[in-house]
């Protein structure tokens, strides 16, 4: 694992919250994520997992330390450049799907690709359809996003996260709202993505089975990394 390409790296990330009192929510977080790695982040509720994920996402820029993606320093870049980096290199899956309710599933999946303007409209449509197929949703493609079940919506949001073939997919409790069948489906998809196309997944999770099945698990406690490896008691 160690001799593979480093896709994401943090150097001593620290972050404070000031409301209601100043406290250090992240403390000297340093780790590396490798291409094709399925990495899970675990820890008690309130340990700072989501906060760390938002720092990695480039959406939260208010931290100390450094963040690198594909060996490029991300920390300190301008908002518009960060938006472009997110568009190209990062996919997101949250506990909630955040689909645009007025658009069809297909259009929802297409949006990040349309923003990227790398492919023609027809190609984007074709690729989005392929991604939906990957998640077993080809029959739902033209339905409005709001008409799908919760599990289906979450799968559409995964298709959206991977439409631009990002190097990294960041997930915050992606199976938190799902039943066991959908959880399994999502996990399988993630597993396939990392194995087949060498993309990296960093997923915050509460689900110990989910964590156990991943390649590596980082455990956070009070904003610090307490273990880099699997150590489930």
């Amino acid at each position: 694992m160690e001799n593979r390409k480093i896709v994401l790296q943090t150097e001593g990330i620290g972050k404070y919250f000031h409301d209601p009192v100043t406290f250090k929510v992240l403390d000297d977080v340093s780790f590396k994520a490798y291409s094709g790695e399925f990495l899970t982040l675990v820890g008690k509720s309130g340990s700072g997992k989501s906060t760390l994920l938002y720092c990695l996402s480039t959406m939260d820029t208010n931290y100390e330390g450094n963040l690198f993606i594909n060996e490029e320093k991300i920390t300190g870049q301008k908002a518009d450049d960060l938006a472009m980096i997110r568009n190209k290199s990062i996919g997101f899956v949250f506990q909630f799907h955040y689909l645009l309710p007025e658009f069809s599933c297909l259009k929802n999946v297409m949006l990040p690709a349309l923003k990227r303007k790398q492919y023609s409209m027809e190609e984007v449509e074709h690729r989005a359809f392929e991604k939906l197929k990957l998640l077993g949703l080809e029959d739902q493609a033209l339905k409005p996003a709001s008409k799908l079940s919760g599990g289906q919506q979450q799968r559409v949001s995964i298709a959206r996260a991977i439409i631009n073939d990002p190097d990294i997919i960041l997930c915050d409790e992606p199976t938190g709202n799902l039943d066991s069948k959908n959880t399994e489906l999502v996990f399988d998809t993630f597993y396939r993505i990392t194995r087949d196309s060498g993309q990296t997944i960093i997923a915050v999770t509460h689900d110990l089975d989910f964590a156990k099945a991943s390649d590596r698990t980082i455990e956070l406690a009070d904003g610090k990394i307490v273990s880099h490896h699997k150590s489930f008691n």
Binding site: N87, F103, L111, K115
Partner: protein
Amino acid sequence: MKIKNVNLDIALTHIITRKRQTIVAALGVTIGIAIYLFMNSLSSGFTMYSRNEIFKNNAHIKIYKEDKTSTPLSYTTANEPLPILVNPQLLSESKKIINPNRLIEQLKEESSITHVFAQVNVDVFYNNGKTQLKGTANGVHILEADSMFDIASYMIAGDLNDLAENKNAIIIGKGIAENLNLRLNDNITVSSSFGVVKLLKIKGIFSTGNSFTDKAKSYIQQSTAQQFVKEDIAYVTTILANTKNQEASPQIAEKIQALTPYTVEPWQVTNADVLSGDLVRGTMMRAISLSILIVAAFGIYNILNMTVMQKLNDISILKATGFSGRDVITIFVTEALIMGAIGCLIGIGLGTLLILALANVYMGPPVGYFPIYFDASIFMKSFIIGMLVTFFAGFIPALKASRVDPVEIFRK
């Protein structure tokens, strides 16, 4: 529907899926624009009407000899050791313009001047039996005067040509006819302060709509007027000139002033009171109509603000997946502009109907049809101002949307 531009696509989808809000917002602009267009056309109509009134009686430029006031004090000189004090008073000099033909020839050469003619104004009394009215007789070549003032258009009886052919003819204002109880082809006694009395035949009656003018003004032949003041054929009191561009009259007057010692007065100076009235009315109309438009735009602001508040999730995920702040602004401003454009177009249609309805209201003489004026430029201006106001109404919520912090939203 396949739209290449993804921001436009999102904006249109919001507009289409929120028809009710779109219609409400557009309707506000519709009413605002309709009123704006209507009021501005009214204002232009009133201004046009008042201009027409002015030009029934005024040339663009008037050249005359101004009354002089005697200087109150003659200063000490070597010859006159004592200063002399005199009460300031009007000097009773003749109003005669010397060598008018030379000036008229010079004016005719100016390319900016379209009409020039000389006039002899005489203060007279109109008499019928014991009744007497004071007024001014204008000694003119009536056809020249008609080409400037379009007198024929407000004649209510008689014919201008009768005056052109008859030295003893007179054309009088409607007020004179009514006050002296006179009709067409009646005789009227006209006397001047020089003791000349003439019996003239009424060959025409005009109504300018200005009761003051109609009660005092008459047209007679120039030679008849010269006889009233016991002067020869060279006697002229006023030179009138029209220009190609009435608004430029003050500048042209300034140029002419260099050619002559007499007073050269543009119509704007003669009618300063009317113009300032027009200005106040115009400003008020503009202010009111603009306020209504701004209130209408507030509707767009409100609805877009609401949309932004309801779409925090959508905005956040767009930003997360790589849409920049500028993209978000573009999306919401586009929505505002689409609502605004729909509102503006319907509003211009509605405004046009209002204008046409009023333009067909007959007010009776001397006004005729309701004075309302509109041309392409007023429509263009309404549309542009409508879109501008819409833009700002949309920009504020759009800016707010672009500043949404997705992290804050995702945490909830």
